[in-house]
């Protein structure tokens, strides 16, 4: 995450070291530090407490068992875990949707439900400004992927654009967003 203090970075390094060591204290330490963020992300997507708990537990255990798959070049363990749990939650949600033929909700419906609960309004304003600065076609593709939780194939279908064009727009938009937020360079810890 951006703008972390030196003491937060030191704490992160301690957590990373213990987690990578594959010790039980490492797993518990990571959960203490990032459990709230991981659970919040899973809960937001799965809309169910029990499912979110299962998702976080299973994903975190799997990542801890294979902690060597996290390489230092990746950068932030927190970001890595957040994305892994998000991917796990999305996979479960999509599988359930396919199974029960449930239509995916529109992104705006999902957002409206939590509008008053967001805990970091300053960060949200910053992100909104950065999103607003993107070219409209890139912003639309990125928002369908992130807020709409669609795959790149679904985004292309929704926008009626070629798949290659859609993939490029999504990727470019996220890179520009990262640059606007001051993402650290590759390999930075």
């Amino acid at each position: 995450m951006y703008g972390r203090t030196a003491s937060e970075q030191l704490e992160d390094e301690r957590i990373v070291a213990d987690f990578l060591a594959g010790t039980s204290t490492g797993l518990e330490g990571v959960y203490r530090a990032y459990g709230r963020a991981l659970y919040s992300g899973a809960r937001h997507i799965l809309e169910n407490d029990e499912d979110a708990q299962d998702c976080v537990h299973d994903a975190l255990l799997r990542l801890w068992q294979r902690s060597e798959s996290f390489r230092p070049e990746r950068g932030s363990l927190r970001s890595y875990l957040i994305v892994c749990v998000r991917n796990e939650a999305l996979a479960r949600k999509r599988a359930a949707a396919r199974h029960f033929h449930i239509e995916q909700r529109a992104a705006r419906d999902e957002q409206a439900q939590y509008e008053l609960d967001v805990s970091d309004p300053i960060e949200r304003d910053r992100l909104r400004r950065a999103l607003g600065a993107l070219p409209p076609e890139q912003r639309a593709a990125l928002e369908l992927a992130y807020f709409g939780r669609l795959t790149h194939v679904q985004v292309a279908e929704r926008l009626g654009e070629p798949l290659g064009t859609t993939k490029s727009r999504i990727a470019l938009a996220l890179r520009k967003l990262g640059a606007a937020l001051g993402a650290k360079g590759a390999g930075a810890r």
Binding site: A17, S79, V155
Partner: protein, 237 residues
């Protein structure tokens, strides 16, 4: 689709797939191919990390923060105690410490010389915080690799070593609350004793700095028998 085959080609990199992965916009098979490629490609791992950092920022901004139920912490703690990591845990009972590792004397910082001017920092509880801060500061300001030690004896505890990519330091972490093991560092000059592990809670650690690209790290019992070892690999740069 041919994604998996494409990524198997060493000349190709993830490109925009890094961002699509971080956003969760790929199908499961595509995600697997991306992870497999990234595991062998440093440049793509870094690109993935940058994309993940941006998505994490989106999550921080737009996802409501909810406290997980206490029972999830208990469930994870229970799993941590019972689930067997893919890196196999010890097959034999833990080694028992014969003597306390720290005396309760006043603050003490011993510098034990090693070949090439290596220093092993040891301390009492009083100096522990400062010592840990210095170690963490060194690790935080460095690029490092990590590798699990391979067991060479049945009694080997699970252990891992973090090591600076420039070979200047190692940080050994052993999953044992009672380990009177010593650490040896192997280099072109031979094998040097780097000192005894410090037990902290349920783990034992040793930080050794002032090294010059050691080739291997060994965990030895009190009699000098090698319990576990790891080869340290450095990039060509």
């Amino acid at each position: 689709m041919s994604l998996a085959n494409d990524l198997g080609n060493a000349d190709l990199h993830l490109g925009e797939l890094a961002e699509l992965y971080a956003l969760g916009a790929l199908e499961p098979a595509e995600r697997g191919a991306v992870e497999a490629h990234a595991s062998a490609c440093t440049a793509c791992t870094a690109a993935l990390g940058a994309a993940e950092q941006t998505v994490a920022a989106l999550e921080t901004a737009f996802v409501p923060s909810l406290a997980p139920p206490d029972r999830l912490a208990a469930r994870i703690a229970a799993s941590a105690a019972t689930v067997v990591p893919l890196v196999p845990r010890r097959a034999a009972p833990r080694i028992r410490a014969r003597t306390p590792l720290f005396a309760t004397a006043a603050a003490l910082l011993l510098a034990v010389g090693l070949a090439g001017g290596a220093l092993v920092e040891r301390s009492s509880d009083v100096a522990e915080t400062a010592r840990e801060s210095a170690i963490l500061a060194t690790i935080a300001s460095s690029h490092f690799n990590h590798v699990t030690l391979t067991a060479r004896a049945p009694a080997a505890p699970i252990s891992k070593v973090l090591y600076a990519r420039n070979g200047a330091w190692i940080y050994l972490i052993v999953d044992s609350a009672s380990c009177d093991c010593r650490v040896a560092v192997r280099s072109a000059a031979g094998v040097q004793d780097a000192g005894q592990l410090d037990v902290r809670g349920s783990t034992a650690t040793l930080f050794v700095r002032g090294l010059s690209r050691p080739e291997a790290v060994e965990l030895r019992d009190a009699s000098g028998r090698v319990l576990a070892s790891a080869k340290l690999v450095y990039s060509l740069r």
